[in-house]
Symmetry: C2
Subunit: 120 residues, 2 copies
């Protein structure tokens, strides 16, 4: 079974995660057959490893991890691959793959441009 | 004249800003009559104040600042208002307004969901 993890940075302020919770809610409403979990790099729970474990317990065998970041700096180029490799070692029975950051996607960028244009 | 600032966090790795540069390029191609500048909270240039100054020098009188952040945590709730108020004091002839974070926008979130769905 396929599953998806939306992976964000995390922050001290609990309200920071509101758009991530909305993302998970949207996903569940539109892709009910594909379980989704949030995961965070730091300062919020669950960790990537915990999210992978939760999905595996639910029967997931192929998990796609989507970094919900704009840019690809040290967090995605250095920290994230280490976490991903640790998960692969811990869950050798799973297929774990990762997409580029969502900021790489032209449709995401266009939605941001459109948001700005509506605000003028 | 109206203008827009796309305001991001900033990062040590220069490659982090690539999607921000793409955003500015998209904006200029689609909204050529409305000047755009990027600005960053930390670790990248220009600052918000510098971007406002550049736009004012070019004739902007009403500047909308779009925080290109997902969540609204300490950076947007605490740091950003201080910077915005400092700009308002420094440029009293300008009208400076700010939108919510782009992560508040349903179309941006939907684009992220669609990106994830295409990656499965």
């Amino acid at each position: 079974m396929k599953a998806i993890i939306l992976f964000g940075h995390g922050a001290r302020d609990a309200r920071w995660r509101e758009p991530f919770d909305r993302l998970a809610t949207l996903w569940r409403a539109q892709h009910a057959d594909t379980p989704v979990e949030l995961a965070f790099l730091e300062m919020m729970q669950p960790s990537l490893e915990e999210a992978v474990s939760t999905l595996a317990s639910g029967g997931a065998t192929q998990i796609t991890i989507v970094p919900v970041f704009f840019g690809q700096g040290g967090h995605l180029r250095n920290d994230f691959p280490v976490l991903l490799n640790a998960c692969r070692e811990q869950f050798p029975q799973l297929t774990l793959s990762a997409t580029p950051a969502v900021g790489d996607d032209l449709a995401v960028l266009q939605a941001i441009v459109d948001f700005g244009a509506r605000a003028l």
